[in-house]
């Protein structure tokens, strides 16, 4: 009666030995690191964006083995800096995509007009910075002001970040986002208090360069830490938003 047990154990031992006796495909994990920032060419501060798929991302073309590789992407952080330490050491063509004039410009028939992407030979670490023209610049004016009814009013100035007429579309949205984390953005906000405004046609353009006051909606804010951020966009590319830095007020 015991024999089957022995055979099973023996068989299992055999399988185990087979599975751990070879190291052929056990390579080290990719460990080269690429970091950098996306700077506004006009102000030298980083271009704010949102986390997740709706914000700036880094595009890598690994050209070591193939002239037309399948692109790899990783997302930038909210403040416009990026960092990935899980890359293979190789030669990469690096560019960034986001709410700014594209680094690779093409005309309406697909001809490349200019290409500001960069090529890096990544060994262990490398830093690549980009200077771009954001579609819009959103800048705080003063600090958020708590009103008597516990709503909050903020002030911003929105200006164009590029002279390129192809990327000076009509201003379509100005949104004041209210959130209980600093990751406020179009993909993460409290709909009860955030103030969203759409503009059709050229209606919004007269606000450019003006000091704009925005007040939260939906009654008084609860007494807790609240983050504010203003996003604005034009219809260009993937219609991504340009933001200012999140600002916190607390009780």
């Amino acid at each position: 009666m015991r024999k089957p047990v022995y055979y099973t154990a023996l068989g299992a031992l055999f399988l185990l030995s087979a599975s751990c006796s070879r190291n052929i495909d056990n390579y080290a994990a990719p460990s080269a690191a690429l970091q950098g920032s996306v700077f506004d060419v006009g102000t030298d501060s980083t271009v704010q964006t949102e986390i997740g798929g709706g914000g700036t991302r880094v595009k890598l073309l690994e050209t070591s083995y193939d002239s037309t590789p399948t692109p790899q992407y990783f997302q930038s952080m909210q403040d416009g800096t990026f960092h990935s330490d899980k890359l293979f050491a190789a030669t990469y063509n690096v560019s960034v995509e986001g709410p700014f004039v594209p680094l690779v410009l093409t005309d309406s028939s697909g001809t490349v007009l200019s290409d500001s992407s960069k090529t890096v030979t990544l060994k262990s670490t490398a830093t690549v910075n980009f200077w771009v023209q954001p579609y819009l610049r959103v800048q705080w004016v003063g600090k958020p002001l708590v009103n008597a009814d516990s709503t909050v009013t903020v002030q911003v100035i929105i200006t164009r970040g590029t002279d390129n007429p192809g990327y000076q579309g009509n201003l379509t949205n100005i949104n004041l986002y209210v959130s209980n984390t600093r990751y406020a953005g179009n993909n993460n906000y409290d709909p009860r208090y955030s103030k969203l405004t759409s503009y059709s046609g050229t209606d919004g353009n007269s606000l450019l360069g003006q000091t704009i006051s925005l007040t939260t909606t939906g009654g008084g804010l609860p007494p807790q830490d609240v983050y504010f951020r203003v996003g604005a966009r034009i219809a260009a590319g993937l219609n991504q938003y340009n933001y200012n830095q999140p600002m916190r007020i607390g009780p």
Partner: protein, 648 residues
Amino acid sequence: MDRINFIKTAGTLSVGLVWLSACRKLSIPPENIVQDPDVFSTSEGIQAYMARLYSELPIEDFRYSPARGLNFFWIISPTPAITGEALSRDQTSAMQENFGGWNWKIWSGCYTVIRDCNYFMETLPTYAKNFSDTQVTGWLGEAYFVRAMTYLALVKRFGGVPIVNKVLSYSAQTIDQLKIPRSSEKAVWDQVGSDFDFAIKNLPAENADANDGTRANKYVAAAFKSRAMLYAGSIAKYNKATLFDGQKNQLCGIAASEANTYFKAGYDAAKMLDGVYSLYVTSWSATDKNAQYQNFVNLFSDAASKENVFVREYEYPNSVHGYDAYNVPRQLIGPNGYSAEVNPTLDFVEMFDGIPKNADGTLQNLDAAGHYILYDNTMDLFANAEPRLRATVIFPGDEFKGQHIEIRRGIYTGPVTGGINRLLPPGSKSQYPLANLVVSATAAQTPYKLPDGSLMNPAGLSGVFTGDQTCAISGFSVRKWLDPNLPVSQTKENNETQTWIEMRYAEVLLNRAEAAFELYSAGQGGADYLQDAFDHINQIRSRAGQALVPSPASMTIDTIRTERRKELAFENKTWWDLRRWRIIDKEQNGTIYRILMPFYAAKAGKYFFDARTDERNHVYTFDPRWYYEQIPQDTIAKNTNIIQNPGF
């Protein structure tokens, strides 16, 4: 012969026999697999092949949802819940389609259908001697029709896709030859157009095998061509996103200069159906709103309707769906649960006429002093509603399956003298204050004693319950497609067989009117396009029981679009329209859809309505990237020549 020798001889002989027979007989095709001659030699074999092609046809029918794809039974995040037509408890935001996982992968599934079509087109001519010429041309026409429909399903989602018009074979072709790159978007739309043209040319006016609308004829192909070409024209005119490959093929987007060619092709195709099909008016009367309502209800169940151009039939138990089980009002819930998945939004209802409205087009529920208007019955508000709306949406208090569908958010117990003030300030997204309200969390209710001593449940039988969203969460329930004769005991998933009408003549007229108006706007000559659009929109409006458009000059493109959204609501068409017009990213831009909550004011003995945003505060934001959907990653892993769409 001695015994040993006999055995030796017999042994040698038998070995030889086995050897010989093996040489001859083992090279036959496996008999347990159906071979080409079995299929292509008889009309029954062809019918079986056609059954497969048509069942694979990628149309968004009763078994489609964006979350789970095509040909899947479980429809709990229904299409209307991502278009703004309705709210569903299982859909909490805008979304892109989910292309994998549950059942039928849209990319590989479509290429399987295309391969089946190509195989049919290449093989049938070899067996043509078994059939008449008419049969062969007709069947080839059907294969081209199915292929056109399949390319259409791909191009409307992804833009340019690989065009594969031959059966590919791995052993005969290398892997590199099989990695076919994407064609330009224009090339795929032109492929759709030319496949439909082939079908129109070769299909007979009446399908010889089945002419009940389940299989294509010449006019079916023309009707779908009008849909496809209108779509292509809209892309050329309204799309902004572009993507080029290394050879400058435009994988996403079409040059704006092509728009009128496509609109004209769509217009001409729609015109082919003139006099062949007609709007359903069997029980319609020009003067009787009730007859107009009943006629629009019947339209979706009358098999004899001359409006049905192309349909998909179901049959228990082989091919079934569960539309009623998922969508009946809560009080008619079937034995296996579900109900009330599609709850039309107030935004949708406000598109229609016949309900009191404010100057900005929103429903009027307050008097001049800002107090709620009071009604004896909840149906009083909808007394003059457009008959088509009543046939599309169940209002609070309307009758269905012999019951009054009771929808009530709660009982207001506060003071009523001098008028009832708003429960919440305008625009507030907060919860209702409970100070003067009696509500119910679930369908198990505790009745409330009214001032006259009688008892009333706080919520209606179909909701609204505050803790159980299996109810009319928007204040309305869907009416379209529901079978008024299905007993409650039979209202079960995988048990229902209403016919899905994929193409009805009303859409052909709407295609025609829209294409005509686009041609008129672009200053195209050749016909009085404005008058044509005007005439056909008014045919639709007249049948719907709606006031006619007063004059051609008063029409805008929005007149036509709104008419289309109202007529084809809940038919899984609006999603594609909002996409091709490239307006859904503006409609769903931090949007919370609106609802209409009926309350009973206990001290007044009357009802009032509160209009507000979705109490769940679910925000819809359509990401403009989704206009060109993400190509599945496994497709790119297999075919590295495929370029991903922008932003993914």
